[in-house]
Symmetry: C2
Subunit: 347 residues, 2 copies
């Protein structure tokens, strides 16, 4: 087990000056979530594998001060999302057929959004309908709307990834960043933060380009962390397409070590931007917005802490923490998907 | 020219007790839109065909009291949408390949949403980026966000339709209604009403299930009207898949005349619901919400008035107006996509 990829990962600690956090009711939330999963009986994924996602721990790291009942509802979606991802997005008959994935994606989206009975018998659709009903019961209509729109964004991103896989297309880096923002599930996950907190962020704040940029920046940092964590797993399973490391390897003549180094540089520049932009957004922001920004930070840190323990990533050891970014340059990355985020630092 | 389909259409006037309306600056808006189109030079569609969509007239019927500058920006999107629809969704290399449509759809969505340069040279992406910049200049961040989310919903719906076409799949009626709500472009069109009006509807109202149901109901009535109008055109062009008439013909043993009759009954029941639900929404609603509801009604009527004159539908004569619905039953239609809308009539 001394392959270069592991050495590469072990060499490079992440820059993440955010303290760890965890909701105190995590054990209770997990117990109740597991009971729900047993009732829902999602096919195609084993109970062991599903519980091994530690989704309760995952989301409890994101909203340490959340309302327990609401955090449970959000946690159910995280479990559901991992199961759907495993059985319908990453592997299986739909994973390389956009023509088969799209009807399934729109079916579950309908189940999520429709208050009445969704008229469906697919267990995934029924489980998601139940989650939608819970959100309508504990969240405001605007929070629910934001979540459902973010959920659609995720599904469209996954459909695009499925199309790339079907066409054996390897995206360039800018295109990949855009794709990854869709596929990573960051949008629906971050949309559940204010649901978990039980405090609606005013629309004038939440819909501003600045807060949109900050939210996507947090999602992308977490997604790139997952790319680095999962690269070894995906290599073992032969699924190494569409990962930031393989995209970099494909785009220019890097060695594997150079590609991992470049990926961490990219990720650390985004992390630095997140910290600066968080500071900018907090200034003058409402209390719910400030709590939301805190949770975005908890999310970045929590995602790493979770990944280092979770069986999904096969117990990679800790990469350790770096005091400073591998690439300290404060100027924008030259990729259209993200470069405008730096403009939002302005006064 | 005495085929049964024409007779069927001529026999059945629409139930639509809403007065016609038109923005007084329509001629000026059209002139400025045409100048923009000439600058943008969208490929694949002739100038004549594009101007023949009468998109300025179309949208000016929706917001007769709108702010001229804002109505112009919205009008540009209507022209753009028709061009994109014709060249990328309904015909051409992408129209039956979800794997090719999805990268294009996500590319233009990115151009719409990204404030900085989108890093693209596709004329459709550049034109849509220009429209996005106009919206950011004249609308609130929340209005822009609602439009961009609605735009994504449209593109996902079209992708699904493309997948159905590729797989030669004819949906059942419930599935079709859900599909049609996505493909019809009603969501982005209706999201431009409050931009045209220059008055933001508060999120607590706009995101409520009741207003969502009313908005989708208006879109679906207009979409079914378009289905009926375009059925003849599509028959001539050999594109008769995925139209409410063909779906009904496919689902049960109807004659063509019976299928058209059933389609108008369905449409008229939705029209009746729209009127009742409008009344319910208006009661206690804010002034911007009431104006928005007015515009939804103008939209239904305006869409018909526009369709009867536009070359796109080859100058069908007026079907005339009916005083009462062909099917007067007030109870919910038994399709999960729409049945919950009737629940929103409750106190």
């Amino acid at each position: 087990m001394t392959q270069p990829v592991e050495q590469g990962l072990e060499l490079l600690p992440f820059y993440c000056p955010i303290e760890p956090a965890l909701h105190p009711a995590v054990a209770d939330i997990e117990t109740r979530a597991v009971a729900w999963l047993d009732r829902m009986a999602l096919p195609g994924v084993s109970r062991k594998r599903l519980l091994g996602t530690r989704s309760a721990e995952f989301f409890c790291r994101f909203v340490p001060q959340g309302v327990t009942h609401n955090v449970l509802a959000a946690t159910l979606w995280v479990y559901w999302g991992f199961a759907f991802d495993d059985t319908r997005c990453d592997t299986g008959a739909l994973a390389s057929s956009p023509g088969r994935f799209l009807p399934e994606a729109t079916r579950v989206q309908h189940a999520l959004e429709t208050p009445g009975g969704p008229g469906l018998d697919d267990p995934y659709a029924l489980a998601l309908h139940d989650i939608g009903a819970r959100f309508r019961g504990c969240a405001t209509p605007t929070q629910v709307r934001r979540f459902t729109e973010a959920h659609r964004r995720w599904l469209l991103g996954v459909a695009w990834q499925v199309a790339n896989r079907a066409g054996d297309h390897m995206p360039g880096l800018d295109e990949y960043l855009r794709l990854r923002l869709g596929t990573c599930g960051g949008a629906p996950t971050m949309a559940m933060l204010e649901i978990g907190l039980g405090a609606e962020v005013p629309s004038a704040e939440m819909d501003s380009p600045r807060v949109r940029a900050l939210t996507d920046c947090a999602s992308l940092v977490a997604a790139l962390d997952n790319d680095l964590h999962s690269y070894r797993k995906e290599r073992l399973l032969g699924q190494t397409e569409q990962n930031v490391v393989t995209v970099l390897l494909h785009e220019s003549p890097h060695s594997l070590e150079q590609a991992v180094h470049a990926a961490v540089c990219l990720r650390d520049r985004l992390m630095s931007l997140f910290l600066r932009l968080s500071h900018r957004v907090r200034r003058g922001g409402s209390a719910p917005l400030r709590s939301y920004v805190d949770c975005l930070g908890h999310g970045i840190r929590g995602n790493i802490d979770w990944a280092l323990r979770v069986p999904r990533y096969q117990g990679l050891g800790t990469p350790g923490w770096s005091e400073r970014p591998l690439d300290p340059r404060p100027d924008p990355l030259p990729y259209s998907t993200v470069s405008w985020w730096w403009d939002e630092l302005r006064e």
